[in-house]
Symmetry: none
Subunit: 76 residues, 2 copies
């Protein structure tokens, strides 16, 4: 799943996996994306890495984050 030896940073790999779930419709607009904690568990990474993944998704314009709530798939 995650390749720590790949040239692509782990946080980008995770971001791309989530992005694929969005693109495929598995994660529909308005729906919450996995929490940092669940990403830590699912991918076996540090919270720092999970946070970077979410930040990457935000930078890609795919999600938005609400403090103390979570991140959600952007509409449109």
């Amino acid at each position: 799943m995650i390749d720590h030896d790949a040239p692509t940073p782990v946080y980008v790999q995770i971001g791309q996996i989530i992005a694929e779930r969005i693109r495929s419709g598995e994660l529909a607009p308005g729906r919450p994306v996995p929490s940092e904690k669940s990403m830590v568990q699912e991918f076996g990474v540090a919270r720092d890495t999970a946070r970077r993944a979410v930040a990457w998704l935000r930078a890609e314009g795919l999600v938005y984050t609400v403090a103390q709530r979570g991140s959600y798939v952007r509409e449109g």
Copy 2:
């Protein structure tokens, strides 16, 4: 603000800027100095460099650091 081409290391330049704020009274004794993160944002450097700046300020005896809390201007 920061001159990456100067002979003085960037972390020292930042340390001197903070030191000046302390000397001028802008940062009073007991008050927290900017966090590593805010230094990263304000000066556009890596966290590593921000940490070196704080370490420099500690070495100069101007601040002390509390884990998971921050660094503060030394009294006296």
